[in-house]
Symmetry: C2
Subunit: 264 residues, 2 copies
């Protein structure tokens, strides 16, 4: 399971404040803690700062790289900001994200192609987020097909299968599970990725729902997630699901985590 640490995101108030005040120590602390907790990539997002995103995203890239060696996940819908941030990366980052929205696709494609980076592919087109697995998988098919035709390696593609709130749509969970299955059935070798938290929007005890959701998505095939690695219960769940899926030989990682007190 590939873990992208989601905490350095300007939609979080504490991060927005730290960016505004150029409090690099606060951001760097978040970076170090996430790596310590098991993140493979660190998401960096300055999207809340309209008009200043390029300046702040590049600042994030620089200060985070000063303290950790893990690759970044450049999280932006702004192609200019992406190109500028990419140039500063010491380790090949993950690009997040291209979609089937025409404007976004056209502006991101040249960067994605020339970068040779892993890329997150959102199952969204100009009609928005598809509400059925049928359409969501079709949007994924189109994007994977186009990107592969442009020379992007299947192994570099991370399809974000998207989660919507089950509180407003009973079928939302099932659509995500089914989309994961269809994407793998049609494109063996591709990856899927997901941010969890939307699924539990509007419900009590959201963490319980998110914890179950990640295990269930993993059973459906999910191999990457954008999560808070400091959520110990969520990480323990992922370790345990990995074990149940036969991806942790002799339970070595699970037992190591137990010994380190990470499963409590």
């Amino acid at each position: 399971m590939l873990i992208v640490g989601e905490r350095i995101n300007s939609t979080r108030e504490s991060i927005a404040k730290a960016i505004r005040e150029q409090d690099s120590a606060f951001i760097q602390d978040e970076a170090k803690q996430q790596v310590e907790a098991g993140a493979d990539y660190l998401d960096v997002n300055a999207g809340a700062f309209m008009g200043e995103e390029l300046k702040y995203l590049t600042w994030l890239v620089e200060i985070v790289q000063d303290v950790v060696e893990k690759p970044l996940c450049l999280d932006t819908s702004n192609a200019e900001a992406l190109a500028a941030a990419l140039k500063l990366c010491k380790v090949k980052p993950m690009l997040s994200s291209i979609s089937a929205e025409k404007k976004r696709y056209d502006s991101f494609l040249p960067i994605v192609k020339s970068s040779g980076c892993k890329v997150v592919v959102l199952c969204i087109d100009d009609s928005g987020i598809p509400h059925t697995a049928d359409v969501r998988a079709k949007v994924a098919d189109g994007l994977i097909g186009s990107l592969v035709a442009e020379g992007v390696a299947l192994d570099d593609i991370y399809v974000d299968v998207l989660a919507q709130a089950v509180s407003t749509d009973d079928k939302a969970g099932g659509v995500t599970f089914e989309t994961i299955r269809r994407v793998y059935a049609t494109h063996p070798g591709v990856h899927t990725i997901l941010g969890l938290s939307n699924v539990s929007f509007g419900l009590p005890n959201r963490r319980l729902i998110n914890q179950n959701f990640v295990s269930m998505c993993m059973e459906a095939g999910l191999d990457s997630a954008i999560i808070d690695p400091k959520d110990k219960k969520l990480m323990a769940n992922i370790l345990s699901a990995n074990l149940l899926l036969g991806k942790d030989r002799h339970g070595m990682r699970y037992i190591k985590a137990f010994r380190e007190g990470k499963l409590e």
Copy 2:
């Protein structure tokens, strides 16, 4: 999700002691608490008492029925004990269990046929528990085919897909997930059922593994489980997985459980 409460089982030391001492109050307390916690059926098992199983199983049936109205799950490999216990049931019980082991199949079939009860069907034949999903699903196919040919309704069949320890076989979890999928793909309308705890044998923090296992099995299609309904975390997990599978309209049951403090 159909919940069979597993606690009144003579392999548990406290239950064996209560049976031996004919401590009906202790057993009845276990029965009431499990129903309170959400059990749909109550398993009763006196299998640890070789030679006296009939006597003790029928005693369990009588004293449990004195305090709860929920149907029982008659858990025995002894056809005589089963027939005697069945006669005492006030509500149609679930019979647990028939298998493809020739002796067991032949002795149980007449009882299963004439009872019109739900029946648990173990994916085991005279070679033991199959270690691959291929063979396990094939054993299920054979049993379902035979039982349906004998007039048993598909809706009354609960295929026990079995769980083995992931600590000794990395693939054990995957075999269970895959067996669930195959059984439903081949026999839509049938049910699957599972006892969880073997899966985590020999590993630390077994409850974490069991909790994840049930959610993941539910994602694969599992619709019944033999569990300890007094395990609040496990029950909270099941409620949350139900919600994510779109089986809890508007999250009514989930929210009710939250208000009753059952999700903490």
